[in-house]
């Protein structure tokens, strides 16, 4: 059956990725353990912010990876639309919720951080605004996937959206920066942005590595699960074919 053909390639992916997965998990645990140990116990508290500065070890990696994941998603979508590579749709679909969660973590940790440092949960700073818009883009993308029940059509719709979103993203970012410099800048933020002390840099880098491995591991798991689901659906397609009653009338 032609439909089964499409999964020859994913099969290879499953084999390869299954081999890689344990390594990512081990690396993730290692990075997180070292990063958290250094970050929480070894690195000194900030002279202004005290211990609340330690939120940074979660906040900064999550915030940087949030847009990184969108790039992964957009590239996968382009590959899916142009070359119709069966794995690309799966990758884009699997990446989106991870990216949304990173964005959400950045927002929540940022807000938790903002309360002690700026005395407010939220300011309309350009960077924060961009992150919020990024969350909307993720939610729209995931909503579109959900809105279709035919996965093939959902994949195409979502890919179109991701691409349009990707070409729009620089424009949005540019406009938000412009907007923020146009008005007098929110003063607290200018004062508050601490320059990063080298002692903090090592745990930050470790945590960043941990987040990256986390992303890779979750991506692999979600993609594998998606491939299994696709296979089940393909089997059901064939099964329905054989179970259909054969009518008598000519």
């Amino acid at each position: 059956m032609a439909a089964m053909h499409r999964f020859a390639n994913p099969t290879r992916f499953v084999r390869l990725s299954s081999a890689l997965l344990p390594w990512f998990v081990v690396a993730m645990i290692g990075f997180f353990a070292a990063g958290l140990y250094l970050g929480l116990f070894v690195s000194p508290p900030d002279y202004q912010q005290g211990d609340s500065v330690r939120i940074m070890y979660v906040h900064v990696p999550a915030a940087t990876l949030a847009s990184g994941v969108y790039v992964v998603m957009a590239v996968a979508s382009a590959v899916a639309l142009i070359w119709r590579h069966p794995l690309a749709d799966v990758a884009a679909k699997a990446a989106a919720p991870v990216g949304a969660i990173f964005t959400l973590i950045a927002l929540i940790t940022g807000a938790l951080w903002g309360q002690p440092t700026w005395g407010t949960w939220w300011v309309w700073d350009a960077r924060l605004t961009s992150v919020l818009i990024m969350l909307f883009l993720y939610l729209g993308y995931m909503g579109l996937w959900q809105a279709f029940d035919d996965q093939r059509r959902a994949a195409r719709a979502a890919a179109i959206l991701a691409l349009v979103g990707a070409v729009n993203l620089p424009i949005i970012k540019f406009s938000v920066d412009w907007w923020n410099t146009l008005h007098q800048p929110a003063s607290i933020l200018r004062a508050g942005g601490p320059t990063i002390h080298p002692d903090l840099l090592t745990p930050l880098g470790l945590m960043w590595g941990g987040f990256l491995c986390f992303f890779a591991a979750v991506l692999i798991i979600r993609m594998q699960r998606e491939i299994v689901l696709q296979r089940i659906r393909a089997l059901q397609t064939l099964q329905v074919a054989t179970e259909m009653p054969v009518p008598q009338e000519a």
Binding site: A2, D150, Q151, Q236, T237, A241, M244, V246, A250
Partner: protein
């Protein structure tokens, strides 16, 4: 812009090894058939056999999961616009705007189809389907059968080559069924062809029957 008249495409339409998957369920597979110029094929089969799906496939509104559609030896994919100019599809849905009058509805389609349709007298198409008295009535006042007749009148604007009709007799009274049969015969006589899904009888001489049964289609040639 070349126009599709029955003459310039005196080739028969072929479908080969079509596979149709909808909502991730296989509807039919390995379906092959031919609709020759000047002939009609009746599409039969129980509910859910895939008649409507097949018509949408041929219309180009659905893509087959596998298989080929050809005019003579030329694949439809080579020039989809030429294919669109040849086929005319009338589906389950009406494509009628309730806020426009009957005449305006038809005139709008005539404009959008351009070419021959744009100059086609809307009045004569309405007349052929027995709607001439209703031209100025807002379409929202139409009864079920009148709506269907208006929808069928669209075919007469610019008949193209291959008619794809999905249960065209639904809601029609016997007089209207006659008119429809006449219109189809006229189209066939002019070298056109037709693929018609129906549960009721249509009196067309020499129509082939394509019986659709999920995953096991067969063609017998009788009326």
């Amino acid at each position: 812009m070349t126009r599709a008249t029955p003459d310039d495409s005196n080739k028969s339409f072929h479908a080969e090894d079509l596979v149709c998957i909808r909502g991730e369920r296989l509807v039919f597979s390995g379906l092959s058939f031919e609709v020759g110029a000047g002939t009609a094929t009746l599409l039969r089969g129980p509910n859910g056999a895939g008649k409507s799906s097949l018509l949408r496939l041929v219309a180009g509104l659905l893509r087959p999961a596998a298989g080929q559609l050809r005019w003579g030896s030329e694949s439809v994919d080579r020039d989809r616009e030429a294919h669109r100019r040849k086929v005319r599809y009338v589906g389950h849905l009406d494509a009628i705007k309730p806020v426009l009058s009957v005449g305006e509805n038809l005139a709008a389609w005539a404009g959008i189809y351009g070419g021959r349709a744009a100059d086609a007298p809307v009045a004569s198409a309405l007349d052929t389907m027995g709607l001439s008295g209703l031209a100025d009535l807002p379409a929202r006042f139409l009864s079920a059968g009148q709506r269907r007749r208006l929808n069928l009148a669209r075919l007469l604007l610019d008949p193209g080559t291959l008619w794809l009709l999905d249960e065209p007799t639904v809601s029609l009274d016997s007089d209207s069924v006659n008119r429809l049969e006449q219109a189809i015969k006229h189209h066939l006589a002019a070298g056109g062809s037709a693929l018609i899904a129906t549960h009721t009888d249509l009196h067309l001489e020499n129509a082939a029957v394509l019986a659709l049964a999920p995953a096991r289609p067969a063609i017998d040639a009788d009326a």
